[in-house]
């Protein structure tokens, strides 16, 4: 059994530095993005804002990105081997995102300097490794290098090369990477162990969310229906393939949403009974499901604060904080009314 005492104590310390409701209240009252950046400069994010005189909204957002990456890196580095194993699964989605971004960059012949600022290194694939990947000539070279490192993603990329050459787009390779990440994670997880079960719970929620959004996309764009089977990700918890098929056969978003209004799904995403009826578009639904996963992660961390659940809760709280701060920064920049901003931010 891995020892969580050290890492959990450190994570509790980091959790203590997350913004409190009073901080958000102060941020809401600010008149312009410059005041928000000043506030960020005086917080944990300040170390990534070089000079406050030159800092603009882009510098603020860049600091948020770098702090998120740095926080995950820190957690990963302080974990012992067995915890690292689970963290690699949890943070693996950022690896997939990073690899996808490198492939996208290589797809249009971007150089390393263009790609690196878009990556969010989380520790599993460190910054130097990612840099090495961005220096490759083309997509095939990225696949070859990943294979050399023993990463299964390399093999997947090389397998997808033929299709890529024919179609000229990398969406098929991206889908393979996403599906592989989830399949592989489930193979590695042991549900019988408590820690594995907590990670399993978060992953299944993410899969359900992706499948629900894909199904709703298909309802909106009927042309996508022919690929529906290919888009479905296995191993979800409540949103089964049967339900997926039923949803995609619906004529409109409202009908599809009414099918999702089941007790198990509502419980999974902590949605109130009438909440789905006021959702009118896909981004709104996606945000609602993300909040559901956040609440689930927090609930896990509260139910067992002595296991990886605490780290899971912190990771999602941190992601949520970064989204909140970006919303406030952009909101102040775009002069979004205070009331609307308060509705968008999840505290």
């Amino acid at each position: 059994m891995p020892d969580y005492s050290y890492i959990n104590a450190r994570v509790r310390g980091m959790k203590g530095r997350l913004f409190k409701p009073a901080d958000y209240e102060e941020l809401f009252l600010m008149k312009d993005p410059a005041s928000v950046i000043q506030f960020l400069f005086n917080s944990v994010y300040g170390r990534f804002i070089g000079s406050i005189e030159k800092a603009d909204i882009n510098a603020g957002e860049e600091a948020l990105r770098r702090d998120l990456s740095d926080t995950f890196k820190k957690i990963y580095e302080m974990a012992d081997k067995r915890i690292k194993y689970l963290l690699a699964i949890l943070l693996g989605r950022w690896d997939v995102y990073n690899i996808k971004t490198i492939l996208r960059g290589k797809h249009i012949n971007k150089v390393s300097e263009d790609i690196m600022p878009l990556l969010i290194p989380t520790g599993v694939f460190s910054e130097p490794l990612l840099k090495e990947l961005t220096l490759r000539e083309d997509i095939r070279d990225v696949g070859v290098l990943l294979s050399t490192w023993g990463s299964p993603y390399g093999h997947l990329i090389l397998e997808g090369m033929e299709g890529y050459k024919k179609s000229g787009d990398i969406s098929a390779i991206e889908l393979r990477l996403e599906k592989f990440y989830f399949d592989d994670s489930f193979k590695k997880l042991s549900k019988k162990k408590k820690s594995g079960y907590y990670v399993y719970k978060v992953l299944t929620s993410q899969i359900d969310m992706l499948n629900i959004i894909t199904a709703l996309r298909i309802v909106k764009e009927k042309d996508l229906a022919i690929y529906a089977d290919g888009y479905f990700i296995d191993n979800g918890e409540m949103f089964t393939k049967e339900l997926y098929q039923m949803v995609i056969n619906e004529k409109g978003i409202m009908d599809a949403l009414s099918l999702l209004n089941t007790i198990p799904l509502r419980k999974q995403f902590k949605i109130k009974k009438d909440e789905l009826s006021i959702i009118s578009d896909l981004p709104e639904m996606e945000r609602r499901l993300e909040i559901g996963i956040l609440n689930r992660a927090i609930a896990l961390s509260l139910s067992d604060p002595l296991d990886i659940s605490l780290i899971i809760g912190f990771i999602w709280r941190k992601i949520n904080e970064v989204i909140n701060l970006r919303l406030i920064l952009r909101g102040k920049w775009a002069e979004v009314p205070d009331e609307r901003l308060r509705k968008m931010v999840v505290i």
Binding site: K100, E178, L224, W333
Partner: protein, 216 residues
Amino acid sequence: MTPDPEPLTLCLIMETVSPTRMNLLIKKNQIGVADEGLSLLRSKREALVKEFFAIMDAVVSARDKLRADMQDAMNRLTVAIAMDGKEKIASASFAAKRDILIDIVEKNIWGTKFSEIEYKRVIRSPDARGYGLVATSTFIEDSASAFEKVVDLILKMVSEENRLKIIGEEIKKVTRRINALNEIIIPKLKCEVQYIRNTLSEREREDLFRLKRLKS
């Protein structure tokens, strides 16, 4: 209707025209041709003005729509940046990058040539944007779709506005021609006819007087 040949002052400078019967016939013929041209130009201007106002309404409403669509796309982009971060949007844009091919075709309406842009629909379905559909957020997709609509509208408007501009210039040109015919060429021709007629009848009177004098 052309105005009456006027001014004596204008007629006074017509002395360069040789007052012969042949010239009288030529000038009368020229007036006929000028009148015919004038009426053709007036019809053309009428048609062009009609076309101009029809396009103008469409262009004005398209401009309003463009302004609203652009605002909507910007709002969606702002939300997408806030939700997913600029890095994820830039990453998706790498995959979605493409060239938009346009053809410039020359068209001819009422003898007026103008170029029109022909292009394939810019708005793509979500699976045609190049990125993996499953893990790309709907905020990014929403914003991409809104901007594709804007580009589509801009391309549509380019042709319309170009047509409007060319028709406007053509109306000006036709109006100048009408004015030239109406106020300078036709009055001048009429004066010349008048001058020739006057000169010929004076000559006739002189001849008659001379003959009478010889007879007496």
